[in-house]
Amino acid sequence: MNSKIIIYSSFLTGFLSLINIPIVQSETTQHLEIFKLKETITNNNQDIFTQDFDDDFVANENFNQEFAQQEYEVPDTNEENEENWPSPIEDDEIFWLLLVDRLEYRASDGKDLFYWDVQGWVGGDYERIWLKTEGEVAFAEKESGDAEIQLLYGYLIAPFWDLQVGLRYDREYGPDDDKGRVFAVIGVEGLAPNLFEVDTALFISENGDISARLEVEQELLVTQKLILQPRFEINLAAQEVENFGIGSGVNDIEFGLRLRYEINRNHAPYLGINWIRLVGRTSDFSREEGESVDNFSVVGGIRLLF
């Protein structure tokens, strides 16, 4: 190592003397000369600076460049196999999101209930595992409700679209009966033109029943912190499933309008309204159960981003 430096220093000294510039001795300190030039700054771009340099400079630079490329001995500790070097950047890291989009209390004429809608993912740029759950708990004389959970594998198929496949499990419970069923899910989630957030999926139940859902929402900024979120959802079924109170065709439509205040990005309480209308045979089933088919509620809750 030391001998290299000596060889190099002498090379440098020789090189510098060759081109007639003051020798910088690498082993001692160097006093700076005082730089003063005739020219002061000019504000017009005349080529006055080019005259000071002749062809020598050009040649020197070329030589400089080659000179700089002399390989230096790298200390032993670093002479590992290049294959063991780390990657210069880690660009396939795993990230995750947990969005409690709606966690709210719904107050309406009939019965009040508590509702949640949570989405999360973990994964990279292209592949992600998604978890989605939503459900409600009604506070009638006896507690009842329903819940659903989806576990999906998502793949980025277009710049704004994720294809998702997986399973969904539904559970309905109440004082009288408790029942659940499993679906296969295939859907797409993403951002449509005009910034509509779209989540749509096709469900095939364990009994072969087919249904579908479309959710569309938007975010409209009233101010930087006040955000209005209109929302639309429609559920459809290909056939009647009386056991679960579902008719064929359109089952229900839902409109929501929520105004949230972002204390910060992660915490945003909101107020809003929600209207659900059951349609067709589904509404008949509901009536038979003695439940309302037209449900307007005032909601209040919080949106959380983790």
């Binding site: 300190t29 006093h31 050009v58 200390p75 210069p88 999101l97 980025l156 710049p159 930087q224």
Partner: protein, 588 residues
Amino acid sequence: MKNPLNRRNFLRLTTGLGLAVGLDYLTPAHSQPMKGQKAVQDNSKYSDVIDLTIQETSVKIGGRKATGITVNNTIPAPLIRLKEGQTAKINVTNNLNQDTSIHWHGIILPSKMDGVPGVSFAGIKPGQTFTYEFPVIQNGTYWYHSHSGLQEQRGHFGAMIIDPIEPEPFEYDKDYVVILSDWTYEDPHDVLSNLKKMSAYYNNQRRTIEHLSDDSMWREMRMDPTDIADVTGATYSYLMNGLVPETNWTGIFKPGEKVRLRFINAAAMTFFDVRIPGLRMTVVQADGQNIQPVTVDEFRIGVSETYDVIVQPRKEEAYTIFAETMDRSGYARGTLAISKGMSAPIPKLRERPVRSMKDMGMNHDMSGMNNNSTMNHDSSGHNDHGSMNHDASENMDHTTMEHDMFNDEAVMNDSNDFGVGNAGVPMMVQSRLNEPGIGLENTGTRILVYSDLRNIIPGYDQRKPDREIELHLTGNMERYMWSFNGKKYSEEKEITFYKGERLRLTFINQTMMEHPIHLHGMWMELDNGAGQYKPRKHTVIVKPAEKMSVEVNVDVTGKWPLHCHLLYHMKVGMFRTVAIADRPVEAS
């Protein structure tokens, strides 16, 4: 914690940094503003060996406690002053519990000394000392920083000044380094996570429903016209020489003195617009290279660029050095004054700009969107053409101009399929070198533009490039994915340059954001219409929908990174290695 400042190191350090720098650097930046060093000091010394120790240190930024990654216990890291012609020998000791590195930004050196883990060397392991050794064959203003993970965001950066052998073609009385940076109290990795969760996480300047109809086009394209900076003043404090605006870093002058300010943008993610109300600035160096002086009122400095300017304040008063962020969400500030404690009014932040259809490669006239014939006649493109070439040929002889491939006509962006990693491809691409950049278009003042930059001497190699490589800058903002040619580093790692060739590298920005593209180890000669006098740069800002070319002399060996210098863009994949190979027989 090891104490790096034992007596031996202490002596070496003070020598290494030169008396001009003195002890100020040995105390954390918050407690002691950086003193400017006089340009010319007879007793300045250049040491043979410089010792640097990297460790986590508790620092105070703007009165708030934080833990930063420091070099010799300071943020910014100590100024390293070298002399052209000497051999730099720098021992770097890692006292962190993770790997670290130092990359010498803009320095031409052997590839093994470039300091990029995984490309140049293995990195510096905890407890290890690595010795950098390279001949210093250039001069000017440069800087150095960690190339490991997100360490740069935590304070691991410093200035590197190389004094020239030949006298400089301008004179000045005082010399100050002005390092601009962005600081967050958040863990930088959390910042990235937040961007992955929601790309507009830090944008608190979005447009509201008031502009719903104005934005219909943007909404249609699923884009946000206020997407100017990914990380903003929502989390950042902006620092000048490590100090918040309130601390007010101050450089002292005597009226009539010429003051050289060496601006270094060491921010992780922030472009700054720099002005000194009441003073015009004469830009004499760009990226450490002497340029033909240009006097301006303001300049934009992209991440990792440097500009040296000379100002001559004549009045006995204070002047504010105002570095406003491109997205107008904050500013760094300092003062030039005749004595400490003085200050001048701080300008108001200007309104944050909004992306125009030009940033999407479209005519300002939105009706032109579906009509290619109007696209081709983008009037601004033609104006540019006229003014540029005319301007350039005034000083240049015309024969060289003919050889110049410089062209700024807007052309259809025919390459527009980059897969899922790219969203929102511009319709047209064109040169935007004569545009000051977003938010500076109509200031009524003289703004530095890239077409102003002109080397003071002709480049030593005037060969015409015989090969061209097109590199598309791509991204999917919705998912916070950034890449080249639609592929991130882990998907496509290497580009091959041929040893000895003169290469034309053409960047085509397929995204709606500016990217500062940095090539290690070789100069990029910006093809800006300057003929033989192309400016040499280590980093070039490529504007949205811009097509820009640089010429590269491939006179080096080894492997070198080429990447976007926005730290989080690089981190998620906007990175390539350049391998220097022998030219294949067929191709020669």
